[in-house]
Symmetry: C2
Subunit: 296 residues, 2 copies
């Protein structure tokens, strides 16, 4: 593991045309490689529209096996460009059994590992519990030539437990492919609170664990096929944070490839001045595995 | 529990004179009461200098029993002003057995409960492991007339586990008395990163748990009695955050009494749009009670 690592995030708008989305991702990855990136993170479900705005059984047709057509494309790209790629795919595991799955490719084109989204949201416009079976692989970082990658997906970002378990399993970097946006009808104040909360909670995982965090989020407006809502305005703002939660680079709300260089030795130096892992009260954390503890 | 609650934080500089520190706290609490506060939070160890800059056995003389001389003063004040007060005292529990303890007073002057700091830091200038036995009361909120108070102390603030356990036990508000500051010799960039991380991690507890957070921090420069370091410049910046982590009010670096009004119904409404407690993967969190999980 080299002490410094150039990383890139591909932040893109998607359309209903799979080939277009793939072309945009590929272009972004090639651009990242030209700038020296050795690790590229794509956003959540980058090969399609965010199809969870409605519950529609035909959308399961978007699912694909892993390995499968998409993994073949990204495996080739990883090998040709000699970089590690983290993708996010709609996995068809069996008839009627689907997952929201991140696939990590080693720089020789091999699949280094997969992560199946553990926390599944469900709220108006984000009907993910209909589509995605909760992950059954736990919180296990994926070993690669650029370090152990603690890949988590979108809704996972709100759970300190997930980040902590990745850190305890030796993750060197936390990575979040996401697809989050605004209800266009919300007030500006509410929009600001939501985006700020989203950045804050992910920066907090960097701080609590002394790890860099990469977040790649979708951009663009996608309409609601049911016409019930005003669709989702994905807010982009992909960012790279260092192990004190400091923002090293961030994107705006347009399609972009964000490049940043991490100093991987900072985790050791930050953990020496802030040795949070040393002082965890593991004798008193039992209740974390309970749903709720108050009796009232 | 009323839907809105006016709260106040007393942020003060301390001296070696206990009576002076008490007078400043009392003045702050009276000022808070005049402005309608029903809950006042004092900073960590507000009756003395931050004595942990060196390891000196004579400093144990600062410890006091609970109930004791300080609790008598604050109990009287709570009863007379009809407000709930959260204090932070150096508890002498037995000969040679000391804790860093928060004491919560009901508005009738009764001690509603105590919390003994669970996570104890130890780094140059903050030799707390010498003075404070780790708390043995767990993470239990304290029931009061203004809600269940999840009181945690300073170093606890870096641990998402602590905030989560308070939330799972039904806390309505998270409260952090703290005493954190800069090494005056650090660069401005490092100082900014540290203070920003400190705010970010505490705001993240609000977000992860959908709860308001109150933080009261010390101000002023205190010299190092050993003259080894340049002392500590306590950075103040006490703040009140709402349940999306949004800053409702914050202080600067001078002594002040910060007043803010919380809408306690926002926890329910925020948790309805962001139902993080619903989706916790309690089946997969076992590892949280381990020191470390990676085998390498």
């Amino acid at each position: 593991m080299s002490p410094s690592l150039t990383v890139a995030l591909v932040q893109q708008a998607c359309t209903a045309a799979r080939e277009e989305n793939l072309a945009t991702s590929i272009q972004g990855i090639m651009h990242a490689a030209e700038q020296g990136a050795k690790l590229v993170l794509l956003q959540e479900l980058h090969t399609s529209l965010y199809f969870c705005q409605t519950e529609d059984v035909t959308h399961f047709d978007l699912g694909e096996s892993i390995p499968g057509p998409s993994t073949e494309i990204f495996a080739t790209l990883a090998r040709e460009l000699k970089l590690v790629i983290v993708t996010s795919l709609f996995e068809r595991r069996a008839k009627g059994l689907y997952h929201n799955t991140a696939v990590v490719f080693e720089n020789d084109g091999q699949i280094a590992g997969v992560y199946r989204k553990m926390h599944i949201p469900d709220d108006p416009g984000f009907y993910e519990k209909f589509y995605f079976t909760p992950g059954d692989l736990g919180f296990t970082p994926i070993a690669t030539s650029v370090g152990k990658l603690g890949v988590l997906v979108c809704w996972d970002q709100w759970y300190p437990e997930a980040a902590r378990l990745m850190a305890l399993q030796g993750a060197d970097i936390l990575l979040y492919p996401t697809a989050i946006g605004w209800d266009p009808n919300d007030t500006d104040a509410e929009k600001n609170r939501q985006r700020e909360a989203w950045m804050t909670i992910q920066r907090s995982h960097a701080i609590a664990n002394g790890l860099p965090v990469l977040v790649s989020n979708r951009v663009g407006h996608e309409t609601d096929p049911s016409n019930i809502t005003s669709g989702i305005q994905f807010w982009g703002t992909s960012f790279v944070a260092g192990p004190q939660g400091e923002i090293l680079a961030h994107a705006e709300q347009d399609a972009s490839v964000l490049v940043a260089t991490l100093d991987l030795q900072r985790t050791e130096s930050v953990r020496r001045i802030w040795p949070f892992l040393r002082d965890r009260r593991i004798d008193a954390y039992d209740g974390i595995t309970q749903r709720y503890l108050a009796v009232r």
